[in-house]
């Protein structure tokens, strides 16, 4: 892979946050990569995601990221005002992003069957996640950062959400970096998997090396037993 293709690069990045420390993290992401970060709670997944989001500075190492307006974020909870409806959001949100695309947003709203007239407070968790995704995918983001977006979703909506992410990455040669606890998600859409433990990366491999969820789970058990 040509170096010019690399959009996200972390070289030996370390970050101390109170008693927690992220140690010498190396990460390279190229266009069309979908990277799944897994690990126990407190392993450092969210800290890593916040560094990638420009929200946390680093103590040492090198980091290369696109500017913030070229990144799309989907949080694990809704950040849009619950009293508002999609119709109202459509009116003001174009002014918040540099490269907002009204038509794309409208297409995603239709495709994901999100009701336009209802207030967000009346949405199910799945609907709220879909809305977050529609916002993140509607401003030509080169990098998508997804924080446990499928947790708590029913299997049908989870499939729908993962398919939309995968299609976007393929269509726009973008990158998606997602944290998850679900190995099924990793097998379904990711091409690389990173396993974190106590602030370090203990596994960084291509998902193609695993046939299914069981073989990935077995590998994880081996690593944990080895530790």
């Amino acid at each position: 892979m040509n170096d010019k293709n690399i959009i996200v690069q972390l070289d030996s990045v370390s970050k101390q946050m109170g008693e927690f420390c992220l140690h010498h993290i190396n990460l390279i992401a190229n266009p069309n990569d979908i990277i799944a970060i897994i690990g126990e709670n407190g392993a450092g997944k969210t800290t890593l995601l916040k560094i990638l989001s420009h929200l946390y500075s680093i103590d040492s190492g090198k980091i290369s990221l696109p500017p913030i307006h070229e990144m799309g974020f989907v949080f694990d909870s809704n950040h849009l005002h619950e009293a508002l409806s999609i119709k109202e959001i459509e009116r003001f949100i174009p002014y918040l992003f540099q490269k907002w695309d009204d038509a794309t947003f409208s297409d995603y709203i239709d495709k994901l069957e999100i009701p336009r007239e209802k207030a967000i407070k009346d949405f199910s968790k799945g609907m709220k996640t879909k809305l977050g995704i529609a916002v993140a995918l509607s401003h030509h983001a080169k990098v998508l950062l997804l924080d446990e977006i499928t947790s708590g979703l029913d299997p049908l909506i989870r499939d729908e959400v993962l398919t939309v992410i995968k299609d976007y990455v393929n269509q726009y040669s973008a990158i998606a970096i997602m944290t998850t606890h679900l190995l099924d998600d990793v097998i379904k859409i990711a091409n690389k998997v990173i396993v974190m433990n106590k602030g370090t990366i203990i596994l960084n491999q291509h998902v193609s090396e695993y046939r299914n969820t069981d073989s990935l789970e077995m590998k994880l058990k081996e690593i944990i037993a080895g530790k």
Partner: protein, 216 residues
């Protein structure tokens, strides 16, 4: 910036344009007119002041949803984010004044106890005082969230009390105002308001940056 202002506008509309609020306002006003008669002007001032505190609703809604974290992902400059909220506060002051105007107009037709000039002066004072109130309040709400109003009011009372203890200060202020021509009073008020607005805006930017937009 315009997007944020528009968002605040939608939230205010959702919050206030409710049948129960309009009904309560109407009943309250009716009782005031029946009981207080020509003195019910005070009610219009009270309602306007009550409406001013809806600025707090905007902050509460933002905090409830983690809106500042979302804004950090848009790359919008802090100056624009805070300015949008200042625009919303100017709009709230204008709306407060407009509510007072409508109520005063009704009272004017019913009782005819005020001249139009007196009414205009009162409305101008309501607008300036409400704007001043919000400009002082905004940095406190940015710093203390919904407790900001309480803390700001307590501090304002303490400041007023301490000022009253300074020798001849009230007499000096009264003399200064008496010496000014009417047109100069208006000009001094606007300039003072602009000055306080700028200071408040600067402090709010510093607080917002440190609380919500600082890279950890």
């Amino acid at each position: 910036m315009f997007g944020l202002f528009l968002k605040d506008l939608f939230l205010l509309k959702k919050h206030w344009l409710k049948t129960k609020y309009i009904f309560i306002l109407f009943v309250f006003l009716l009782i005031a007119v029946l009981v207080l008669k020509e003195n019910s002007l005070i009610v219009s001032v009270f309602i306007a002041m009550l409406f001013l505190n809806s600025i707090q609703v905007l902050f509460a809604e933002d905090m409830k949803t983690g809106w500042p974290e979302f804004l950090n992902t848009t790359g919008l400059p802090v100056g624009k984010i805070v300015f949008a909220r200042f625009l919303a506060s100017i709009l709230i002051s204008l709306l407060s004044t407009a509510i007072s105007f409508v109520i005063n107009l009704l009272l004017y037709f019913f009782f005819d106890s005020w001249s139009f000039k007196e009414m205009s002066t009162i409305l101008l004072i309501i607008f300036l005082v409400s704007l001043l109130y919000l400009f002082i309040l905004l940095p406190f709400i940015y710093l203390f969230d919904t407790n900001g109003i309480t803390i700001a009011i307590i501090l304002l009372f303490i400041a007023a009390f301490l000022l009253s203890k300074v020798n001849n200060i009230t007499t000096n202020i009264a003399n200064f105002i008496n010496d000014l021509a009417t047109v100069n009073i208006v000009m001094v008020s606007f300039l003072g308001l602009l000055f306080i607005g700028c200071i408040s805006y600067g402090i709010s930017i510093i607080i917002y940056t440190n609380r919500f937009a600082k890279k950890l």
